[in-house]
Symmetry: C2
Subunit: 353 residues, 2 copies
């Protein structure tokens, strides 16, 4: 892994974890797992994989204080700071430029910072498979997750042709973003579909070349940024140029359009921790089947997700309910409706306007 760098993307808004996450404190930062944030877990995993000096953190500049607080001693030079959030194509473009300038020919693993991944050795094995593939083909690689339920909130990849002389890799035949329930059920039953993890592997030069092919507007702006990187007016140019980037994800803008896109099936357990109910899948349940952070006193409550920051939460006779207490507010909702929490956050934001 001698030429591999990891880019940890730590932007995001995180409304689905209200009242814990807020636009100023997205969900990758609160200590959701074992007293540490998913961001901290992600950077630690990356550092174990490639060494801390080859980890870059790409984030919004306004989130830098939280990043420094959560990663004491982490060099600010290893932070790629976006003036504003402009989705993953712009973020990854800027990170690839930065990396290619510092370490020409480098390969980069791009990972969100709010995912659950375990165990480490399986993660490492999957990355090794990906690097072996990149030794043979010059392409773009995404990690695919074997689906375990008909999730309608994810992107699906149809695995296509096998890759000669590589046991695991497949070409990506088709991407389907957020299918309806029936389609998702068909995908899961079919067996050839994988969830798109949003974890990518490629040479920095390759993703930049692909952006030049598929995202000309991004490419024009990235070219202006490239000339400014390291110059005295770097921040001013970033502030002027970066906000002009269209809001496009790298999946939609590049991967779905390119022909040399591959998928490596992940051998690790994965969860995108997209809603409070995910904690029920990740945290080990107590003897009553409740996943608890903080203090919980109850009678006959089962299958609940309980998250208390400063006060005890008492429940009586609840099944599969999420209860969260933070200084921002209290949330009570059935686990299977936890996706609607973003609507609550929206209602509050509009009411407070």
């Amino acid at each position: 892994m001698s030429d591999l760098y990891v880019v940890v993307m730590a932007g995001g808004s995180g409304e689905r974890f209200w009242p814990l996450s807020t636009p100023r404190h997205p969900k990758q930062f609160p200590p959701l797992l074992n007293g540490r944030s998913f961001f901290q877990h992600t950077v630690e995993r990356a550092a174990t994989l490639v060494g801390r000096d080859r980890v870059l953190v790409a984030t919004r500049r306004d989130l830098l204080p939280i990043v420094r607080e959560q990663l004491p001693g982490f060099p600010v030079e290893q932070c790629v700071l976006e003036p504003v959030g402009r989705d993953t194509a712009a973020c990854i473009g800027l990170a690839a430029l930065t990396l290619e300038r510092r370490a020409p020919g480098a390969r980069m693993l791009v990972t969100p910072s709010d995912h659950y991944i375990a165990p480490f050795h399986a993660f490492e094995e999957t990355i090794r498979h990906g690097l072996t593939l990149l030794d043979r083909v010059d392409g773009l690689v995404t990690l695919g997750i074997p689906p375990t339920r008909p999730e309608t909130g994810y992107g699906y990849i149809l695995a296509g042709d096998a890759v000669p002389a590589h046991p695991a890799a497949r070409r990506c035949a088709r991407f389907t973003e957020k299918p309806d329930r029936t389609t998702a059920e068909r995908f899961v039953a079919d067996g050839r579909y994988y969830w798109n993890s949003g974890i990518f592997l490629w040479a920095a030069a390759s993703i930049l070349a692909a952006m030049a092919r598929h995202l000309p507007e991004h490419w024009g702006l990235l070219s202006r940024l490239r000339d400014a990187l390291g110059a005295a007016d770097e921040v001013q140019v970033l502030d002027a140029v970066f906000p002009q980037m269209p809001r496009v994800s790298v999946d939609v803008g590049v991967l779905e359009r390119d022909t040399d896109v591959y998928m490596i099936p992940a051998t690790f357990s994965w969860d995108d921790v997209g809603a409070w109910s995910a904690l029920g899948r990740i945290l080990p349940p107590d003897e009553w089947g409740n996943s608890v952070v903080g203090r919980h006193i109850h009678r006959e409550s089962h299958g609940c997700v309980i998250y208390a920051t400063t006060r005890p939460i008492a429940t009586i006779g609840l099944q599969n309910v999420v209860v969260v207490e933070t200084p921002e507010g209290i949330l009570v909702c059935p686990a299977d409706r936890a996706q609607e929490v973003k609507e609550i956050a929206r209602m509050l934001r509009e009411a407070d306007r």
Copy 2:
């Protein structure tokens, strides 16, 4: 009502309203209704009935600071202060002694301070009926509530013989405390049973005489207290004697044993506010059928009782659930299990021991 005084009993422990009420702040004191406490509503109702200078507040001495805070300017001389709580027989005995000493021949209305009563004119009408009865008989009067549901947590009175020349009053034929469900259903269907409101009307001298007959241990101690009232060592004697009072309610200790006990059916709406679910009966519901104090943001939630002190409460898809937020903690429980909240309070107390 020229010789009528009102004794507002404001002791109590109030664990059924955790996390709002605590042993140090019983349920009569938080602002549950229209921004004011049931205690404040009760004293105001009493003052409207007889004038503020004929209202006595009987409470534990340690609750006096809360009483003074809630009743600015209320004379401490009108407070009957128990060193410790010893149930209603002891409380009423001490209040009757105090009253008989200050206004010999006075009649007293004794009322808990944590009940919901409305409208005032019906309350006043019921009290007038009671006073008319006391003009004719020398006895003990309790107000009876026509039962509206088979409540198992209340005491029931079987109405007996009518009283000559009084249109409303009945003799109490039998008291039944906390019947089982089947019995309660039979009582409600029968039509001759009333809930015992715990609101009493009698001459101070009459209840003292009844205590002398039925509660000799209380009476012995009360006699020692009578000699000390107004003396320099009043507080010391109270501290020495009052804690020796047996814990007996006036219902069990006196009313169930005496022969001259009468019942006046109440014409007012009444609720003993015995649990959080009672707020659903008392507070006017919003357009979704939720009874709300504080800030509530929700999707498809109906029939809930929401009580927020400092933070918003957000709910999704809840029906008939109680959600409470206070600095003490968070409570989530189905309305029909709100009686179990005292078990939660007990579990917390034992865990914190």
